[in-house]
């Protein structure tokens, strides 16, 4: 499986942020997108997720498993927002996304254990701290299977221990033949990942 971008260009509000991007990420590889604020990291991720359309160029996923046809269908997107309802409990939130996105290998309890939140499934999501909310959001990636993970500042709000734990989860995903595209300022603790620097001139 390969995620390939050719001559990709993206804009935001009519202003061209980047153009002529080339990259190819294969199974088991991670691409770290870096760059200063406003250089188009989030825009690139949203283009890959199919939420924005590119100005130019091609984007395709080759050799995806049969269950995932388009790129958007094969991708998990973890944006700045956690996509959880604050009045529903953690369990209800994860249960909804699991049935909406399809059941994965992990059950909800296992996924919460993976982010060390095993005890708080019954609490309303709104009661949690910023870091705990982020970890619940990470647990959402585990309860349904997607070969491509698109992560936008995934470690924002996480403490050191959770960062290390999340790095372990990402390594597990890569070992299983997955692809990660992450936009970040902080080192994610992934060895041997490719790097794409945006907005060098800006």
């Amino acid at each position: 499986m390969r995620l390939i971008a050719e001559n990709l260009g993206g804009e935001r509000g009519g202003e061209l942020l980047f153009s002529g991007l080339h990259f190819a990420v294969s199974s088991g590889e991670a691409l770290i997108v870096t760059g200063p604020n406003g250089s188009g990291k989030s825009t690139l991720l949203r283009i890959i997720a199919g939420l924005l359309s590119q100005v130019e160029g091609m984007l395709r996923l080759e050799g995806a498993p049969a269950a995932f046809e388009g790129l958007a269908a094969a991708a998990h997107y973890l944006g700045h927002l956690n996509a959880m309802k604050s009045v529903l409990s953690v369990d209800e939130n994860l249960h909804f996304w699991q049935s909406f996105h399809g059941r994965g290998q992990c059950s909800i309890e296992e996924a919460l254990e993976c982010v060390s939140l095993g005890e708080i499934g019954h609490l309303p999501f709104g009661y949690l701290s910023t870091g705990q909310k982020r970890r619940v959001s990470i647990a959402r990636l585990l309860v349904s299977d997607r070969p491509v993970w698109l992560l936008d500042e995934p470690t924002a709000g996480l403490d050191k221990a959770s960062e290390t734990q999340f790095a372990g989860l990402m390594r597990g995903h890569l070992t299983g033949g997955g692809i990660i595209v992450a936009a970040t300022h902080l080192p994610l603790g992934l060895e041997g990942s490719k790097e794409l620097a945006l907005g060098g001139a800006a």
């Binding site: 927002l81 249960h95 909804f96 049935s99 399809g102």
Partner: protein
């Protein structure tokens, strides 16, 4: 899809869901009409069906702007749009509309017979009004979905949504009220306007979600 319906129903019923706002508004409108119109019982029973329909229409419009905005605010909308290969987006929207209707409009329909008593309506008129509300109000929600989708990225889109969709809901109001009158006033037909009302609902059950899906896709930023 069942999970989405359940989630939206739960959200509507929990604190801050706003399901009660519509029904309180409906109650307030109908309760003040007799004071404004005066104690003429005949007049009240004559305008009763129309007042119930106008109250229900306005109460339905109240909560509509939050239909997609709540999901957009917490990022769920992105994921719902991304999943469109798996769950067709118009279908997702139809389910959201159904959940919204069940939580915030169905209680209006259930309360309408009681409020009909305030208006001194006869039993046949009350029954006909409740029936036309049951069949007609889904159309208002489905039309409203289009307006809510267009205004989803505006921070204070509530009024705009009402202004955009109000002209489109006028036919629903006209046929709903004329069917209610048709049930009690002799020369006026009941079945013809009632069937047109049902047809409007079915028509917008198809067109509304498709148009709303197109609007949501193009509004993503």
């Amino acid at each position: 899809m069942g999970a989405l319906f359940l989630r939206d129903v739960r959200l509507g019923l929990r604190a801050g869901g706003g399901a009660l706002v519509g029904i309180l508004f409906f109650l307030a409108v109908i309760a003040v009409v007799p004071f404004g119109v005066g104690p003429d019982l005949k007049l009240l029973s004559r305008i009763g069906a129309a007042m119930l329909w106008i109250g229900a229409l306005l109460a339905t419009l109240l909560g509509l702007d939050r239909l997609f905005q709540a999901d957009r605010d917490d990022g769920s909308l992105d994921l719902l749009i991304m999943a469109s290969d798996r769950h067709m987006l118009p279908l997702t929207i139809l389910v959201k509309c159904l959940a919204h209707w069940t939580v915030s409009v169905l209680p209006l329909v259930i309360a309408s017979p009681l409020l009909g008593l305030f208006m001194n309506m006869e039993p046949a008129a009350i029954g006909a009004t409740a029936l036309t509300l049951l069949v007609g109000t889904p159309a208002i929600t489905l039309i409203g979905a289009v307006g809510a989708a267009v205004a989803v990225s505006l921070p204070r889109g509530g009024l705009l949504v009402s202004v955009i969709i109000l002209p489109l809901t006028i036919p629903v109001l006209i046929f709903g009220v004329s069917a209610s009158y048709g049930a009690v006033e002799d020369p006026a037909p009941f079945l013809a306007p009632f069937l047109i009302l049902a047809a409007i609902t079915l028509f917008f059950a198809v067109l509304g979600p498709i148009a709303a899906a197109a609007a949501l896709k193009s509004s993503a930023d």
